[in-house]
């Protein structure tokens, strides 16, 4: 379940950046939303998906 949540969060980062293309025409606004998108996607990968896998890592058994 956490893995699916992680995939949703990772994809959400991409969608935030896409949203930036339409909700603002300013370069600065799009830059900020894209950086937020990158941060959200990285959180999904490193903070959610990877952590879910590390919980049952082979070296813990």
């Amino acid at each position: 379940m956490r893995v699916v949540l992680g995939m949703v969060v990772t994809l959400a980062g991409f969608l935030i950046a896409m949203l930036g293309l339409v909700i603002t025409a300013s370069i600065g606004g799009r830059l900020v939303l894209t950086l937020i998108g990158i941060a959200v996607s990285l959180t999904g990968i490193m903070g959610v998906i990877n952590r879910a896998y590390l919980k049952n890592a082979i070296w813990k058994n």
Partner: protein, 555 residues
């Protein structure tokens, strides 16, 4: 005193080029040549052509040691023997010669890129243990065939089916079917629909064949990145299915968005962001796609037995042959002269003489990457580590791949220096913080530095390149933030978030599917014994005495 002397030497040597750069050009000693007269630029007529004297047969019969009469007007094909040589004959010949030069250039550089597979194979095998050498080599060998099959069947059409006419290669008119979706009032390209099996929709065409060969070897480069990260514990059947899916869907989809007329290329025309996502030779398209897919599968496959202690502390598992690693790196650096300069898809016309600076940028960044990685390891661990110096070279080459067509030599060295440092820091981060086992450092070399390369276009592109007067349908040359176009940086970052957010998720979903179908992980017993016998049925080095390893011993 020593410090002063060293300082003086540095000042002298570094000062000379600075002065040279700052000098205004000296006036020419000879007056400039007079402009051609009006009569010299008058149109050529058929009467002029009849006056052209071709070498006589008796002259030719005496041989041409100086090469002065071989290749002349008599070598131009004549369409009507009665009329003799006409102006249309000459113009057709010039046009075909230009396309021939571009065909040969693109094909030969494609052949160089194909040879990079050998470099990847021996780098990865050298960085893994002898007991898995057959398995690692076979993955690198068969990724070529499996990937090509998937790309020929499906991938090429998705990637290039809607690219449109490539002028350097004479048109490629049949590649004209891009599937678009209308969102926000803009037509956004999603995938191509032409070129399945290289027969569909008129794609049995010489120009299309050149595009296929060149793009196919690029795709295979991306696929082979994953085999390095998953080496020494990846089930062979899982590797085959995963590679097929990546060659058919994951890679071609992003490549279409960036290079095939897709929505990322259109960020400039549709949203006013610079020249759209600009990735000259594929830091993002090839290397980051490979790197983020490697991260996704590396997480799913999990670390090798013995890589981490029960407390999660990483153990170093050295590779078995540093000679293979460094030789492989030289092969890769050689192949990169196909990868980057070849991405002009031509040597004649349309600003393509820029191939010279693309090639020099490539070698400079590679040098800078290996140098900074060596220096980092030397300062941090007291030894100039060979494998990390090798990864530094590759990191510099990966990072310069996207900007190589748009930046100057100084920027190339800066990009390479950052890449060499970044690969060392990233390897430590992946190993110690993420605890993702990556035996060859592929996530850092290709993923992290691919993203750095993408971003560096948005910083350092200097606006001097001119590939046909426009890029991605936007007139003028690509400029980064430091040369006055912040919109280009945003376009590059949107490419980056697409790689991290979308490509990772798609790769991860495919990874879960394959895990459900056949399972990614080899059995623990096979892994400890070495995968050569259990997976491949033969040892790579049957006469070697391999050290026995048990789970308890490596813990």
């Amino acid at each position: 005193m020593k410090v002063f002397v060293v300082f003086l030497m540095i000042a002298c040597f570094s000062g000379l080029p600075v002065l040279a750069l700052g000098q205004t050009p000296a006036p020419a000693s000879q007056p400039a040549a007079a402009a051609p007269s009006a009569s010299a630029s008058a149109p050529i007529t058929d009467a002029d052509l009849k006056a052209v004297q071709a070498p006589r047969p008796e002259e030719k019969a005496q041989g041409d040691p100086g090469g002065t009469i071989t290749g002349n007007a008599s070598d131009i094909s004549v369409s009507d023997a009665k009329k003799g040589l006409t102006l249309p004959d000459i113009l057709n010949e010039i046009g075909q010669d230009k396309i021939a030069i571009n065909f040969v250039w693109t094909l030969i550089t494609g052949f160089l890129v194909m040879f990079m597979q050998a470099g990847f194979a021996i780098v990865e095998t050298g960085l893994t243990r002898a007991k898995n050498a057959n398995h690692t080599m076979m993955m690198n060998f068969m990724v070529y065939g499996v990937g090509m099959l998937a790309y020929w069947l499906i991938g090429f059409a998705i990637q290039e089916g809607g690219v449109g006419a490539i002028a350097n290669l004479g048109g490629t008119a049949p590649l004209n079917a891009e599937h678009t979706i209308r969102i926000f009032g803009k037509d956004l390209g999603l995938w191509g629909n032409s070129g399945f099996f290289l027969m569909h929709h008129g794609t049995y065409d010489v120009g299309v064949m050149v595009v296929f060969l060149f793009q196919m070897v690029f795709m295979d480069t991306a696929l082979t990145i994953v085999t390095g990260t998953c080496a020494e514990r990846w089930k062979y059947s899982a590797f085959v299915i995963s590679s097929f899916l990546m060659g058919a869907f994951t890679y071609p989809l992003f490549a279409n968005w960036a290079w095939g007329g897709g929505w990322l290329a259109g960020l400039g025309t549709n949203f006013g962001l610079g020249h759209g996502y600009a990735d000259f030779a594929g830091s993002g398209v090839v290397h980051s796609v490979g790197g983020v897919t490697a991260l996704a599968l590396g997480i799913i496959v999990g670390p090798r037995i013995g890589k981490y202690t029960r407390k999660g502390k990483p153990n170093a598992i050295p590779g078995h042959d540093i000679v293979l690693v460094l030789t492989g790196c030289f092969i890769l650096a050689f192949g990169w002269f196909g990868f980057n300069p070849g991405s002009t898809l031509g040597a004649a016309g349309s600003g393509n003489l820029r191939i010279a600076s693309v090639a020099v940028n490539t070698m400079l960044a590679g040098m800078a990457g290996s140098f900074s990685a060596m220096l980092y390891m030397w300062l941090r661990y007291q030894k100039p580590d060979a494998s990390m110096s090798a990864n530094g070279l590759l990191a510099g080459l990966v990072a310069i791949t996207a900007p190589s067509g748009f930046v100057n030599p100084v920027a190339s060295v800066i990009i390479g220096l950052v890449a060499g440092f970044l690969v060392c820091v990233s390897v430590e981060f992946v190993d110690r913080v993420l605890k993702v086992d990556d035996p060859v450092g592929a996530i850092s070399v290709h993923g992290a530095n691919g993203l750095w390369g993408v971003i560096s276009v948005g910083l350092f592109a200097d606006g001097t390149s001119n590939f046909g007067g426009a890029w991605n349908g936007v007139n003028g040359s690509v400029r980064g933030l430091f040369y006055g176009d912040p919109g280009q940086l945003v376009a590059q970052l949107i490419g980056g978030v697409t790689l991290i957010g979308f490509v990772f998720t798609l790769s991860f979903a495919f990874g879960l599917l394959v895990d459900w179908l056949v399972g990614h992980r080899s059995p623990a017993k096979a892994e400890l014994e070495g995968l050569d016998i259990p997976e491949m049925g033969a040892l790579c080095y049957p006469e070697f005495v391999l050290r026995e390893e048990t789970g308890a011993a490596v813990q």
